[in-house]
Amino acid sequence: MSQNRHKELGLTDEQVLHMYKMMLLARKIDERMWLLNRAGKIPFVISCQGQEAAQIGASFALDREHDYVAPYYRDMGVVLAFGMTSKELMLSGFAKAEDPNSGGRQMPGHFGQKKNRILTGSSPVTTQLPHAVGVALAAKMRKDPIVSLVTLGEGSSNQGDFHEGLNFAGVHKLPVITMVENNKYAISVPIEKQIASETVADRAQGYGMPGYTVDGNDPLAVYEAVKNARERAINGEGPTLIEAVSYRLTAHSSDDDDRTYRESKEVDEAKKKDSLITFAKYLQDENILSEDVEKQVNDEIAKEVNEATDYAENAAYAQPEDALRYVYEE
């Protein structure tokens, strides 16, 4: 990465360090979830690993006090940036009653938190895209100066809702930013068998909006793209499609064995581009991440993750009959 890129983008040293910390925090929570899963303590994990740069880069380009996000299941970075805490994420991992996402009703990765303007998500992919468009429509009607960001995987960009939602946004020039986190696989199916176009961004033209493909391992590149898209949106110029290309570093989920469909060599290659390594290197080169700072960051995060895990592990499950509540307004 070239020198002083973050300053050119208007980011201070503190801000990029903050971004790095959050990327690392997401990674560390995720790693802990896998350990807990392998130890039989939580039944399911679905990972952000490999996509933290895109998630944090995009989130920091937004107004995290006012904008809305409709994240998908890998977006631990996005929800952390929007105010969800490590403890809350662990409560969700353990499916405990205090989990703010769903009170332990949904699997981890099914985010939602109204106070932080994180729309509630489900498992069927891409359904969140029209929701984000609806938020943008409502905001436009009310003249609220905000945008919504929706994310999804590249495989999920083949669902009808992608098409219908983006065309709706295009026709009505709505302030919504769609970021496809292209990690090259949809479970076992590689991108060539998912998508006929050269890039996912190629689809933007069909919806009368600009489309950009950016390096999803580079938080600053993603930051820049989303920042520009937000400006367009706020100026009434309409939606933008952004494709952030990286790689899925883990198996699809804790239920998947990726050795049946991809070479470990390919994974190893991708790990060299891991944003946690490359962005750390950038910050080191910029003298932002000295050894001391790094140690301190690591310690803080380890402590935070430990505390969150302990808290969540000891928290209570919902009562059986709690299952009956909140079907309708009470």
Partner: protein
Amino acid sequence: MPVMSYIQAVTAALREEMQRDENVFVLGEDVGKKGGVFRATDGLFDEFGEARVLDTPLAESAIAGVGIGAAMYGLRPVAEMQFADFIMPAVNQIISEAAKIRYRSNNDWNVPMTIRAPYGGGVHGALYHSQSVEAVFANQPGLKIVMPSTPYDVKGLLKASIRDNDPVLFFEHKRAYRLLKGEVPEEDYVLPIGKADIKREGSDITIITYGLCVHFALQAAEKLAEEGIDAHILDLRTVYPLDKEAIIDAATKTGKVLLVTEDNKEGSIIGEVAAIIAENCLFDLDAPVQRLAGPEIPSMPYAPTMEKYFMINPDKVEKAMKELAEF
């Protein structure tokens, strides 16, 4: 009290709710300048402008999905599906999303959205402009399904649906639109969602039905009254979740029950009604629970011979009522 048609009651409810609450807006195909293919949104575009009476692209999943998003933001969308038959592309958004959002977020988010759609046959609409689709959705906790039978109920229930803080499917019988007229108060009123309504008090046989068939049952009841058969008619009004208490009361009242739907029989709403009766008032019955419904074919054909064969009408209802009375 002014007399209006069923569809005028729809328009009146929409207009009044839009006047009352600026969060209410309408979206759908051709609802704007044209005022809807049935003209249910007639005049709203002129009164409230394009932003609140939105012509959408031809994409039902987006209509529902964008509506859900706007509702989560705090608006009260009233989405129109041009025909109930064309709600199918939106099933995922309705069942996986709208119905489950409050539950899955543990009461954090909710979806105050109404989806209106004209359903039903007898209008030369053939297979895809005649269907009753309520059974597709009538197993989804989180949803409410309202199917009114009179202009009065239309206005009161559509207003209640729009004000409801959960998603409501509001199915309007398209043949009733101009066929049925009735007195409708000009003032504001709402009717309770989830409550069935006795449309005729009687002591010999009970008919439980909804939608246009209520009208047929009332016509048949008048005729049979001349023969001394006194029919009790319960209008379900909300077909999901059902008003169990009212069903049990109506069934026990006469002990002879006829259930009527325009839908084909197997798997229709009235199966659940029969099950409630079989579960709760078996020993109060003097006759098996009868069902009158369309035949087991995908939908009613276009040719008038076959359409007529499918459709419920007052004569078919009368015949079934008479048979039951004589049981």
